[in-house]
Symmetry: C2
């Protein structure tokens, strides 16, 4: 790829970014778009819909940038929780790393690369006609002494990243403990989930739980809530809600046709009456189903068991309870609103089978996804495209077209395909057996991350079939050599990828294209969307892997093609401002893991470092500098030892809180008069929402009983 092609790509994307920013500045001020751009403020009531028109609304203004910039970490913590703070720290962490690497890369490595003469001399008169490869390490000849600059850079950056990783892990651990001390008593701190409860003949699950915990934890046991098989009830409630919404919609708009022709004889039917009857039927079913679900026969062998103290719950969680370790399996309870109820309905065997299905599905997805990747690779090599489609030859000779195709189109296509991966992975995780939304997103985050690394990085680098890729990893001796020959060749593709995928993804995150289009489509059909208005939560499993993947690209390419770093820094700066703005205006936290996403970030960074070091080993061997490649060898070993130390030093705190912290917190609460009320609420905190009295809409307070509601609607 020529410099000019890269510049075209940069130009297009800069233009797009400016356009998105300007449009955002205007559109966010239109009251009709408040639901898209400031849902959080609306929900909190801090911003009212103004309907009077003024000219200011049409002029783009950068005030939101200032507000986002000024947001302090304490404010973010108090409004969006620790997870948002950790998310922002991922960005600042990457910024620090690539500022350091950028200084080394641009001021040391780039001049060194340009001074090489392996490819051809640099043409300073017409910079844009140089190939991008001139700026990469490929331009240095074999055995060149200048490669020692790269060698030093690898050591320096590894040391810096490890130092920062240690510092961040320590800092986030501290924040996690502080957060625990500052939060009010939460039900999930006092509760564990017990599964595989053995039930003797003639007794119910509930009795079994009561007996066991009264026997072995008499001093700390408080209460329990057995989980019931409620999937049928859940779907009934869903249907009823849908019907109810339709009825209220019909009633609120008297000018809409209230009749419909039904059946063969086309006799007219009062729609409100018709739906009302249907709703009554469903409610009848619901009542029957509810009374059935409450029976002991519909009990799942799982229960939320609450304790009088956090320490009591932790002891029950940490100890193996039963002689048979596959019975009375304990795990920490999630927050009550974080529980993923559908999961509990499935049996052990079904959960086990779905786990296998998920694994197979992930493999299939990976294989199918290689098709678009290969197409994209075809686009970067114009010659190959001309061979595939000879008829396009005339168009492809136009410079601008060819530059758009090689510089922009490939990563755009990839990006579009990548958009569908996070929802798919979230779905796969949801059927894998996790008990709460946060665990599902954490697992999906990992899946998306490794999918991205495998399908974008390795599939692009080792362009070839899946079997070829697998065969490379089955031959571990030659991995560094193969990486070293393949990775630098894709430098220009990944530089363009950062510009197109990175820049565009952040600005479209700001602009919220899909919610915007969705709201525009939906508007004509809904009268008053206020009632069903829901504040979105940030999809960590989509955004964290993206930032981490750019981190991987930056770390692996910083010494091969330092030109990638300025573009990465621009991306990270954009992300820094935009995500802060989104946390302020758009996203509200759905759950709180208190920073449990950080270990994923840490592991990904360690993987990036080791991958970079493997490439360095292979590269120095290729470039005939055996001493350098030997001297790099201790580096991956040290990095992995460092990782091992961090696992020992920090990870346990991310799995469960230590005794010291729990006991201190319990003592603080001991004389709190509010605790009695808290214990009362704790007993019912983990009630399945399907078994609670239904309230069809947030505003209709009178409709607590479904039967009454349907009757009211009909008559």
């Amino acid at each position: 790829m020529l410099v000019s092609a890269l510049l075209t790509s940069v130009g297009i994307n800069s233009g797009l970014c400016v356009l998105f920013f300007t449009l955002y500045s205007i559109l966010r001020k239109q009251p009709t778009n408040y639901g898209v751009y400031i849902p959080r403020l609306i929900a909190e009531g801090s911003s009212k819909r103004r309907s009077h028109f003024n000219l200011e609304r049409l002029i783009p203004s950068p005030g939101w940038v200032k507000r986002a910039w000024k947001l302090s970490e304490e404010d973010l913590l108090s409004t969006s929780g620790l997870d948002a703070v950790v998310f922002m720290r991922v960005i600042t962490f990457s910024l620090r790393v690539f500022l350091f690497a950028g200084v080394i890369g641009i001021f040391v490595l780039l001049p060194v690369n340009c001074s090489g003469d392996q490819l051809h001399d640099i043409d300073f008169a017409d910079l844009s006609n140089n190939s991008l490869d001139v700026f990469t390490i490929s331009n240095l000849s074999s055995g060149s002494k200048r490669l020692w600059a790269h060698f030093s850079a690898v050591y320096l950056v590894t040391a810096f990243v490890c130092y920062l990783l240690y510092y961040e892990y320590k800092c986030i651990t501290g924040k996690r403990i502080d957060f625990f001390h500052l939060t009010k008593p939460q039900p999930h701190q006092f509760t564990i989930l017990v599964r595989s409860i053995p039930v003797s003949a003639g007794s119910s699950v509930s009795e079994s739980v009561e007996r066991f915990f009264m026997e072995y934890h008499p001093s700390t046991y408080l209460s329990h809530m057995v989980v019931h098989r409620s999937s049928k009830l859940q779907s009934l409630i869903k249907d009823a809600k849908k019907l109810y919404k339709r009825i209220t919609h019909l009633q609120s708009e008297p000018n809409q046709p209230q009749y419909r022709h039904v059946g063969l004889f086309r006799h007219s039917v009062d729609l409100v009456d018709h739906y009302g009857k249907k709703l009554e039927d469903i409610e009848e079913n619901m009542r029957l189903e509810r009374s059935e679900v409450s029976l002991a026969t519909q009990e799942v062998r799982a229960a939320f068991v609450s304790f009088k103290s956090r320490y009591g719950a932790a002891v029950a969680f940490h100890m193996k309870q039963s002689i048979n370790p596959t019975e009375w399996v304990t795990e920490l309870a999630p927050e009550p609103n974080d529980v993923y109820w559908p999961f509990f309905s499935s049996s052990f065997m079904r959960r086990w089978l779905s786990k296998i299905v998920v694994i197979v599905a992930c493999i299939l997805l990976t294989i199918l996804f290689l098709i678009p990747v290969l197409v994209v690779q075809g686009l970067t090599n114009l010659n190959q495209l001309e061979i595939w489609f000879p008829s396009l030859k005339s168009i492809l000779t136009i410079t601008f077209v060819s530059q758009v195709i090689t510089g922009y189109l490939p990563s755009l296509i990839l990006q579009l395909f990548l958009k569908i991966v996070p929802p798919i992975m979230e779905f796969l995780s949801s059927i894998q057996g996790y008990i709460c939304h946060s665990d599902i997103e954490k697992s999906a985050c990992n899946k998306v991350l490794w999918f991205t690394i495998w399908n974008i990085f390795f599939a692009t680098v080792f362009s070839g079939s899946v079997l070829y890729q697998v065969s490379i990893f089955l031959d571990p001796k030659h991995i560094p050599a193969k990486l070293a020959s393949a990775v630098p060749a894709q430098a220009s593709f990944f530089i363009a990828y950062v510009v197109t995928s990175g820049w565009t993804s952040t600005s479209s995150e700001l602009f919220r294209i899909i919610p915007l289009i969705w709201s525009l489509i939906r508007k004509p059909f809904t009268c008053c969307s206020d009632e069903e208005f829901e504040v979105p939560s940030i999809p960590y499993h989509r955004d964290i892997p993206r930032i981490l993947f750019f981190g991987l690209l930056g770390i692996t390419y910083f010494f091969l093609a330092p030109l990638i770093l300025p573009f990465l820094l621009v991306y990270l700066c954009l992300a820094y401002i935009i995500y802060r703005n989104q946390f302020l205006n758009v996203y509200a936290p759905k759950y709180e893991t208190a920073g449990k996403f950080w270990p994923i970030v840490h592991n990904s960074m360690i993987f990036s470092l080791v991958l970079m070091q493997a490439i360095a080993i292979g590269l120095f061997t290729l470039k005939k500098l055996p001493l350098a490649s030997t001297l790099i060898f201790p580096l991956p070993v040290l990095t992995l030892l460092f990782n091992e130390y961090c696992r020992k030093r920090f990870l346990p705190n991310f799995i469960a809180y230590p005794a010291e912290v729990l006991i201190k917190r319990d003592r603080e609460d001991r004389y709190d008069p509010k605790m009695a009320e808290f214990y009362d609420n704790l007993v019912a905190a983990y009630q399945d929402p399907a078994l609670l009295p239904i309230q069809f809409s947030a505003n209709s307070d009178s409709l607590n009983s479904p039967l009454i509601s349907a009757a009211q609607v009909r008559h």
Copy 2:
């Protein structure tokens, strides 16, 4: 190797076994050998040294076989503990497996193999001149339908072994729990070892421990015992003991010279006086050292912390105590007499360094050990030997010599070299940082096992350099194919190995050659060995890996060369009788792990199965039966899944007892009047023996104070 060579080997070894048995039957009745053959009975006082002579003593009698056979598992449990029971179950487990495999192998696979014609037709007229290969799977031609018999055998035996493994694991878990319920309260059940204790300036380790546990475990904490740096004191005590022994020896034998010429002027010195003075000096040093060691400055940052209940100790062990997980690290305490005190003297850094040293040493040992293995391999190929030593050609043509050399010598040499491995591995484990003898032996057991598998099995199969072996495992795709071509070729070597190494090792275990020789050498120099008499304990790290290695050979070769099975069964029957006899007469338990060796056995069996299946996959591919090799594929997956299930189902009980068991046991003790006394003893149970008042000899009750003892000796 020809059948006749194998028969020679069998002949020699049968002869040796009969000789050993006969000699044992006679020698064990001689009073002078009681210390070698029935030390346990002597120590228990159930057998007195009879000095009157009778003729019966010179006639071999098989009474001991009957006694060993009759020994029930309950008796074994009560006299030698659960570890001995588990050890015997390893043998009976192997017996069951190979009886089943033997029936299939001898009655189905062996006739099938003989019916092949790949090599040459079997010569029924002169059986002993057939090559052993005729009886192996190599005799079947490629694509032969008869290979399906082997296929079915692989599936059948895998299923049978897995069933037995599950049954045994379950049974031993049950025994472990029962054993826990039946034993009296033991100090180690109430105690944990805490390490990496943080100490604030101006306070001692002891104060720090007291403060921490009084704060966080006030209701269960009982007492603690800080570990002191006592290595210097330990060596002083050792010196003093040696001197004291010499003095008592001199005093008890008045006819020995009591004077010695000392120094340049050769003036005579009263030896008793001389040693007495020396002893006094050492005792003075000891007193100084002891008062110094007791100081807070000599405290190691580790302490044994005792609790009022087993459950309290278990809770403190399972929970992470501190915000910094590298501080207040807890582990279960070993039995007081099982503690390995020298270890505590070393700092964290030194322990870490010695761990690395141990790893390097293991690698070096593996490389050095390949030399004898390669020599042995040279011996099995006579042709190669003739090339190396042309002068030997004339001797090697003698049939008997060549048969001894190919059939017997190789494994004898290997066995001699293998003898030195267990002590080396035990030494390596002891400097690796384990806190008790049982952990050291367990770790050594693992080391010896993998060393044997690597250095005997793989080194023999892939005869070649270490680098070649490593390169095979770096190329995982081709492992089955390489195994399939190499493993059957070594069948005759391993059959001979079972006969020589297996048979001889068990009969020499019975005969106790080395202790016998040692006692014969020592006899003239010691007057009354009764006083220093010590009952040996069985070296599990030597004997368990040996049995497991024969298990591996049996499982991998049963379908390749079924001829190995009868020899294995003979070996196991011998082992069954002999080890039972040794438990009765020779070995006394030194510690009790309550069956913690079983997981090692389980893992080794699973490894053997997967290795066998990999060989089967490769072999069926080699023999052009692709359908069979595809159908074997699910088998290793299922085996590993089974192993995973067993890890979940049984392993936790081998790491720590579950809450249920602990609480039940605690409740049983609650009203036991003896518990007050037990708690009193518990406080001092983990006192460093070096800090206790010294008692030089078991019999000299009056010598409690070392100073008095020395003074008594002198005057």
